[in-house]
């Protein structure tokens, strides 16, 4: 026991971490770029907070989706479940027995119910997750239209109060043109995002369950042989994803105050894109929950930038596709630079790993 080699910083970054790092760096660079190009909007704290305030549901959904994706699955029902929850909450709140606590229960109940159903079918009956969650999407959409077809504006006073409730950060703000100090405001949704982020990220990093999810995503057969209850682990990931979709639904209606057929429609694709940009791979086993908000924000900032730049609305989708392209290629190039054995490109020294079992490509030829 001569040399205890624990804390030598010689391990290279894991895939999860490097992907997260790429995402974070790109986000920061892009945000700085945005500040420089459009100082009067992006310089304001409020703009930054509004990214959260307005998109809390998407970030929350992405969190749950990331967990499923790390476990090697996919959940495309989340957008529709979120939409269903908004409508169910709206209907409930407008009914005679409506109460906020009840609405929260409705939201969580629907989310968890979808999670349990889908999780059971995928984990215990071993059905392909894409198909089951696609059916889940159909089911949620169908239930939504069955429940109510027309938009409902929730008018219940207590709820309206909740909707309009802002947390004012008095010490953080910007002065407007007249020099009046305007403090920043954050919505409850943002708080929920932060709380969930902390809880779920810790869960994935420090809990036995979280590590099991990584193991299952990495190689489910090996995970089983290592003594992990693979089925239960997968099941729980879907329940969590259903739960977050439910929470997202409640936050959604808390933000917009209305139930609508089109609520959160197509959000699953945005969430998948966010998760991927945040460094979670679809193959499973690789990802970082902190990347979820970063991925979402990156997408949003891209959109904001395009809008701020005054790109004609017809071109906006094209430009965001183009930026996505650069992002994805960049991510791939950085990853391949690191992966010498397969790509055979010598590593920059700062990424090189010492240690005998590591082979570093010889430059000469």
């Amino acid at each position: 026991m001569a040399s205890v080699n624990v804390f030598k910083p010689k391990a290279r970054l894991s895939n999860s971490n490097i992907l997260f790092l790429i995402a974070a760096v790109i986000f920061v660079v892009m945000y700085l770029f945005a500040i420089i190009s459009f100082p009067n909007s992006f310089m304001q704290f409020q703009t930054f907070f509004d990214l959260f305030n307005l998109n809390a549901p998407l970030i929350i959904m992405t969190l749950g989706l990331c967990i499923v994706m790390i476990g090697g699955g996919i959940d495309i029902s989340i957008g529709a479940v979120c939409g269903l929850v908004t409508m169910a909450c709206a209907v409930f709140l407008e009914s005679k027995m409506g109460s906020i606590g009840g609405a929260v229960l409705v939201a969580l109940g629907i989310g968890v119910a979808f999670g349990i159903l889908q999780g059971y079918l995928i984990a215990y009956l071993e059905i392909q997750p894409f198909i089951i969650t696609l059916s889940g999407l159909f089911l949620a959409q169908g239930l939504l239209t069955t429940l109510h077809k027309d938009p409902i504006n929730v008018t219940m006073p207590a709820f309206v109060g909740l909707r309009d409730f802002d947390i004012v950060i008095a010490w953080l703000g910007t002065r407007n043109r007249l020099g009046v100090f305007i403090p920043s405001e954050i919505k409850l949704g943002t708080v929920i995002v932060v709380v969930l982020l902390v809880i779920l990220a810790s869960l994935m990093k420090w809990s036995r369950f979280g590590r099991n999810v990584y193991a299952v995503g990495g190689n489910s057969h090996s995970a089983m042989m290592l003594g992990i209850n693979v089925k239960r682990t997968i099941f729980i990931t879907y329940v969590l994803s259903g739960l977050t979709a439910g929470i997202a639904g409640f936050v959604y209606i808390m933000t917009t105050g209305a139930g609508n057929v089109g609520n959160a429609a197509g959000a699953e694709m945005k969430a998948i894109a966010s998760a991927i940009i945040g460094g979670t791979l679809l193959n499973g086993g690789v990802g970082n929950l902190l990347g979820a908000p970063i991925g979402t924000l990156t997408l949003l900032v891209i959109n904001e930038l395009i809008r701020a730049a005054g790109v004609q609305s017809n071109f906006q989708a094209m430009v965001s596709g183009l930026l996505l392209y650069f992002f994805i290629v960049l991510q791939s190039v950085i990853m391949s630079l690191r992966d010498r054995r397969r790509f055979g490109i010598a590593l920059p020294p700062w990424l090189r790993l010492s240690g005998k079992e590591q082979t570093v490509g010889q430059g000469e030829s």
Partner: protein
């Protein structure tokens, strides 16, 4: 005979679903199979399904190949088809007088565009090692607005006889043209498989790309090739779709068809994580989905709840075909058999005949 059954075991699911749907339809009305002749062409429930599923069938074929080789799905197919068909429409409109040649050249041009779009996705997946769903997310995001540009921010109308005939029927031919085109396409694909090693290469690459490379197969090329084939599929599907519609709507053309295409691949007994595949299964899967959609309409289910039924149906279907349930049912069946045997021949040791399937197969 048992060998034959084993050989087609992956088709059990889609075929039995189809049978079930037919039974449901027959219960609803015995005239399900009735085919009527209108203006010299066949119409009826079955022709309608064949007609309606054309694009889906063609796209499912491409999706099966992409899935098998690259272990992921292309979600940009509907968007790509919109772009290729936009180019086709513009060419035809610009040509002034429309002859068969115009249409053919326009179609070939759209195929070239399809190949380019396929090459775009294929390069990302094979060279840059981007996961297919991510790679195709780019076109999925920006593609429709490209199509919109090509259309000149309108939705142009294809008002010529030939297009009309391609979208419906050619006088004197009793079968609707999209059905014929689909059959021809399937036949071409069959020829492709007969005359090349596409299946072996694609499956090898999908299962173990490292081993494929060491045995002289270039996984990048094969993955790229499947995306090119997908490109052709999108061009053909776009061509059929726009001629059917008679008008190019860049926002809604083949919208969300990728979901159905992926579903068709899965119902056809294919794994969505690559490897071995069955094109036949996917084709039957595609027709099944169309049949399901039309069955729900025929049952006059309220439009608002139709998706619930669709979901429940797919879930029941997947549950019945899930490996776990199959093993369970096989065991139950065996037990039942041995129980019956033990009743008929009480002296014999019933257990000896059981041949219980293994619990897990990995």
């Amino acid at each position: 005979m048992p060998k034959l059954i084993k050989h087609f075991s992956h088709l059990v699911l889609p075929v039995s679903v189809m049978t079930l749907l037919i039974i449901i339809n027959l219960i609803k009305g015995a005239d399900y199979f009735r085919i009527t002749m209108v203006n010299g062409a066949f119409y009826g429930n079955i022709p309608n399904i064949l007609f309606g599923a054309s694009e889906l069938v063609i796209l499912s074929i491409g999706m099966t190949l992409v899935t098998a080789a690259s272990r992921g799905q292309d979600i940009s197919i509907g968007v790509s088809a919109t772009i290729t068909s936009a180019v086709f429409v513009q060419y035809v409109l610009q040509a002034g007088e429309v002859t068969l040649l115009t249409i053919v050249v326009g179609f070939l041009l759209s195929c070239v565009i399809g190949l380019l779009l396929g090459a775009f996705n294929g390069t990302l997946v094979s060279v840059f090692k981007v996961q297919p769903m991510v790679a195709s997310l780019i076109l999925f995001t920006g593609g429709r607005s490209i199509a919109f540009m090509i259309d000149g921010k309108l939705s142009p109308i294809l008002a010529n006889d030939i297009s009309n005939q391609i979208g419906t029927v050619i006088p004197g031919v009793p079968i609707q043209t999209p059905i014929i085109l689909t059959v021809v396409f399937i036949a071409l694909v069959a020829v492709l498989f007969k005359t090349t090693n596409l299946r072996l290469y694609v499956e090898t690459v999908g299962i173990n790309p490292n081993a494929a490379r060491l045995n002289g197969i270039n996984p990048k090329k094969i993955i790229f090739l499947t995306f090119l084939i997908m490109g052709i599929c999108t061009a053909v599907a776009g061509f059929i779709a726009v001629n059917k519609a008679g008008r190019h709507d860049s926002v809604n053309l083949l919208k969300l068809i990728m979901m159905d295409a992926i579903l068709a691949v899965a119902i056809g007994g294919n794994s969505l994580i690559g490897g071995k595949f069955s094109i036949t299964g996917a084709i039957i899967g595609a027709y099944t989905i169309e049949m399901l959609n039309r069955t729900l309409l025929r049952l006059e289910i309220e439009p608002a709840t139709i998706k619930v039924f669709k979901a429940v149906f797919i879930i029941i279907l997947m549950v019945l075909s899930s490996p776990v349930v199959r093993v369970f049912m096989k065991k139950a069946l065996d037990r039942f058999r041995s129980w019956r045997l033990s009743i008929s021949q009480p002296k014999e040791n019933a257990l000896s005949t059981t041949n219980i399937a293994e619990k897990k197969e990995e």
